[in-house]
């Protein structure tokens, strides 16, 4: 027996094969009385039915939050959640916020400095000093 196996686990690549939207649940909270919820109430009446129908893969829940500002909470597959306060916003601005939350991955925001990020090894390989013509000094 000269070969042994070292166990490895396959790694998922979302979008290779199947794409899973990372936002899995969205909670919309509103208040019936406060003025800061005026836009949110309009959004729930006019725009939310269409938004929910367009995203069957997201679970939606709408619940009152009396005497508080309206808020959208998005829950992601990686277990994180992100909340967005939408006080005093117009319905279409709230739609924009909801779309931002839908499109987020749930990862914490990071500054991207490299144009390409890849988990795959380089196709061309790493430069080696022992091959080729070498460098003339």
């Amino acid at each position: 027996m000269t070969i042994k196996a070292l166990q490895q686990i396959s790694a998922g690549r979302n979008g290779v094969g199947a794409f899973i939207l990372q936002c899995k649940r969205m909670d919309f909270h509103y208040c019936d009385w406060a003025g800061s919820s005026k836009g949110m109430n309009g959004f729930i009446k006019s725009l939310l039915p269409k938004f929910t129908a367009a995203h069957p893969q997201v679970e939606f829940s709408i619940s009152p939050r009396p005497r508080k500002h309206p808020v959208i909470v998005a829950h992601y597959i990686n277990g994180h959640s992100r909340s967005q306060c939408v006080r005093n916003l117009e319905p279409y601005s709230i739609l924009q916020k909801a779309e931002e939350l839908r499109d987020a991955s749930g990862e914490p925001l990071r500054r991207v400095t490299k144009p390409v990020q890849s988990a795959n090894p380089s196709v061309r390989g790493v430069w080696s000093p022992y091959h080729g013509e070498g460098m003339k000094v």
Binding site: A5, L6, G12, A18, K24
Partner: protein
Amino acid sequence: MKRLRLDRWTSPLLAARPAPCPASRPRAALRPTTAASAFSRGTAVRYQSTDTTPEEHIAAPQEDYDDGTDHVRFPPLEKLPPGAASLPSPPPERALRSAKLAALKARLALPDRVPLQTLARALVDASADQNRLFNNSSLAFVGQTFINYHVSEWLLCRYPRLPMKILYAAMKGYAGPISLHHVARSWGIEHAAAPGGEVDPGLLQFSMHKPGDAFVALGYRRSEADHLKHNKWRHSLSNSVVFDDDFGDLIDTQDQADKMRARPDTEYGNEYTRMLAENAYATCVRAVVGTLYAHAGREPAKAFVKAHILARTLEIERLFSFKHPTRELSMLCAREDFEAPVARLLSETGRLSRTPVYNVGIFSGGDKLGEGAAASLDHARAKAAMNALMSWYLYSPGENVSVPSDMLEDGAKPWTPAYIDMGEVVGR
């Protein structure tokens, strides 16, 4: 030829009736006898079955679980059917009203022919509900044979020269319980704190306090299993092809039951409870594939396995661990009638320094088989031999190889024969 009506085949799944189970029970010998006796039909009669319900059960439903909540002030979000809270798993009709379940179905892009009731059943582990008409063990059995068949045929066609050990490890890397657990997590499946009839049907339900008796693996418990484990008896690979499970692992239910009994009851669980949870998630993925196969047929299920399991990345070259690479390489060259391999120094630097680097190539006649660079000559030669062996073992006819199951489709392209290798260089 008449068109096959797959939707008719699967109607028994929806109309689950508490009839005596068929006599063929795979791995019946493996089941703990307590589980069979614990399942008493009298207490497990379910009202939600499509069969006619006995009158006495309608007349006297069991009391719902009452936790002292003031239901006038905090009305329940969903009105439960009578007696639902005393059932071990949610009644199937509640599946139609679960937002989580509908979202999961849309997320997985399952076709409309897959009913929500069956998808809900795929989320009930055998440890939550022992009744096999309501848990996912039968679906998971179909799913695991389907997944393992497709993963193994793809691996065999894609890498025809893999040694058996590596093939088993690759199978486990793609379709083993840990990988499938990751798949289920990536689908956004969450589990309920404890199983029960009042739980949302869109949550995975399993119990960490009593192990389920789901059989989702083919294989036998060997009579000499204790000696294999404790006395380290040797057993051949061809032996494990027959006896062990699909990943070449020993089947040992007795040992697992012992571990279960010895489990300390901590709040956050231990390694064993984590293993139980992982297995429940993996079983759920298998059951979803089984559901898709039962209701939509072979081709959608195959596409699903390809998209969700085979599309994952596994670096097969990282599975290899060689013990005697140079010896194995010379045996390979002797078998294939190549000239005997010779290691030659290609270049070096800093021989007298603290950090020398030697670049060694292995040649068979005029052909360079492999090369490796290391800080000592021996190490560099071994690395070169490993590289040469790896390039032999990882031979692949191409990325998009055709597999035998492609031929089952209607209008399939003519079969191009797969490459069959003569076998491992050094057997065990």
